[in-house]
């Protein structure tokens, strides 16, 4: 059982962060960021060619982190691989010692930098979770027995700000039924909205890690409001981050995120911090969120 899984099982409040592999083979910066985070988080998600932009693979980077004693969460999307390749990559992850798997549908290919690519989506997030469960039961999706059975800690994502929310929750319920043991959410900026969401999914009894994205600028907030489904940054926060001069923005971003975390941490079992290059502010964020002691 992964440490991350054990912490969740033990009802501890967990912290995850995220790194995005580079376009190319130079992993120096990525590893530097992971080192910055290692002592402050329970696990680090490695994105799977986020936004459909071709990148170094998630599995290879998960392996590099694992080798360094940093626990990865292997993000797997259904965009680029059929059921044969997905199951094979899951087995590959298992033999490399990677247990935490986050199962996602994946963005559509036209959103990325190879819009001409053939989209796959042979499985979806629910059937990918079922594939993980099948492998753990010792057989593949075709029912064929495995020689050597992997162990995984599968998770999934949910968007508390989805509109309408009903279909999102109905799908979350299917993900739980298909084996999701934890959820990481899309970025949350409105504690009241998050609370309403948490109340509606209480019946699922599944650990939820609230998604937090450091708000770097008013422009970024407006961009997300326009372009990222389910993300709603309230006007008050846009004004707050916009009101400070550029050099003070990291401190303000940390202050806003810490306040959000303090507001919602009682409603969930962890926080998933998406730093988008500002990994160095995570330690301070955890101190201000009262999730870590002053150093």
């Amino acid at each position: 059982m992964s440490n991350f899984a054990e912490s969740i099982a033990a009802d501890k409040f967990v912290v995850t962060a995220e790194v995005g592999p580079p376009k190319g083979t130079d992993v120096a910066h990525l590893l530097e960021m992971a080192e910055l985070l290692r002592d402050h988080v329970d696990a680090i998600n490695v994105t799977d060619q986020q936004s459909s932009v071709m990148m170094l693979g998630s599995l290879a980077v998960c392996h590099l982190l694992h080798q360094r004693g940093i626990e990865p969460v292997f993000q797997v999307t259904c965009r680029d691989r059929n059921r044969i390749a997905l199951q094979s990559d899951l087995l590959s992850a298992a033999v490399l010692g990677i247990e935490n798997v986050l199962c996602l549908t994946g963005d559509y290919v036209t959103l990325g930098d190879h819009p001409q690519a053939k989209p796959v989506f042979d499985l979806d997030s629910v059937t990918l979770l079922r594939a993980v469960a099948a492998l753990q039961e010792g057989h593949d999706l075709a029912g064929k027995p495995l020689r050597g059975v992997p162990a995984f800690f599968p998770g999934a994502v949910v968007s508390p700000g989805a509109n309408p929310l009903g279909p999102q929750i109905a799908k979350m319920e299917k993900k739980v039924a298909a084996g999701a043991r934890f959820f990481q959410t899309q970025a949350v900026y409105d504690p009241a909205q998050f609370e309403a969401f948490v109340r509606r999914v209480e019946y699922l009894h599944v650990p939820i890690l609230v998604g937090i994205i450091l708000l770097k600028s008013a422009a970024m907030a407006r961009f997300m409001n326009r372009n990222v489904a389910g993300v709603n940054v309230p006007d008050g926060l846009i004004e707050e981050i916009g009101s400070v001069p550029r050099p003070d923005r990291p401190a303000k971003a940390v202050e806003i995120a810490a306040r959000l975390i303090r507001d919602v941490k009682g409603m969930c079992q962890g926080v998933h911090v998406m730093t988008l290059g500002w990994e160095r502010y995570v330690p301070q964020l955890l101190v201000e969120s009262r999730l870590a002691d002053e150093e």
């Binding site: 963005d107 059937t127 968007s159 989805a162 799908k171």
Partner: protein, 223 residues
């Protein structure tokens, strides 16, 4: 209905390069209704080809669908005095129609239309794709709204995280198929159906190129 679109005249003339005498065939069903290869369009095409210096030996519009070999064969025979002299045929029908004609004559046959999709006709100007001909209909489980066709990802178990205000992440003008399915199930009092986890689609049922012989019992059993 099969939806088609007329090719640019330049492309058609490029196909017909080196051919002098052309006979035209339009389709009496889909291309007639959608006004891409009915009588009016076939007559107009003949006139445009004549303007471009081609000798149009004649034109017909099949009474039935051009893709019905039986009726198209009969019609070509009946018009053999005009078909015979032609050194090429131009067909204003879907790809199946073009190939039906090509298999019946010994001269080159060219398409005048691009074949787009299988659609619901809302009126004579508006149609929307409704069926992908995927070989295994799941409409019984999806409130009669097809996610294989209407969800760009062809998802089988509910919406992705990309919808916003009920619109699709790929095209914000388009309704998210799974939000529409959810809302229709809700309206029908069938939301319990949403909970069913559907297996990944069985692509072995997607039989292309399709071939059926209803009299060959063995072939039918093979699926």
């Amino acid at each position: 209905m099969i939806i088609t679109e007329q090719k640019e005249l330049d492309e058609i003339l490029h196909s017909l390069e080196g051919h002098e005498r052309v006979f035209l065939v339009g389709c009496g069903i889909c291309a007639t209704t959608w006004s891409t290869g009915g009588e009016k369009e076939t007559r107009e095409m003949a006139a445009r080809l004549a303007e471009a210096g081609k000798d149009c030996t004649g034109w017909i519009v099949t009474e039935e669908a051009t893709c019905d070999v039986r009726t198209t064969r009969r019609l070509l025979r009946r018009n053999k005095e005009q078909v015979g002299p032609a050194d090429a045929l131009l067909v204003l029908a879907c790809g199946a129609g073009v190939q039906t004609v090509a298999a019946l004559v010994d001269v080159p046959v060219y398409p005048a239309l691009d074949t787009l999709f299988l659609a619901r006709l809302q009126n004579l100007s508006v149609c929307d794709e409704r069926c992908r001909l995927c070989g295994e209909c799941i409409l019984a489980d999806t409130a009669a709204i097809c996610p294989v066709t209407l969800c760009p990802k062809g998802l089988m178990n509910g919406p992705c995280g990309g919808y916003e205000d009920g619109k699709c992440e790929v095209d914000r003008e388009r309704d998210c198929a799974w939000v529409a399915i959810y809302e229709r199930m809700e309206m029908l009092g069938q939301l319990e159906q949403f909970k069913i986890i559907h297996e990944p689609k069985d692509w072995s049922k997607d039989r292309h190129p399709g071939f059926i012989n209803k009299r060959d019992k063995k072939a039918l059993g093979r699926g």
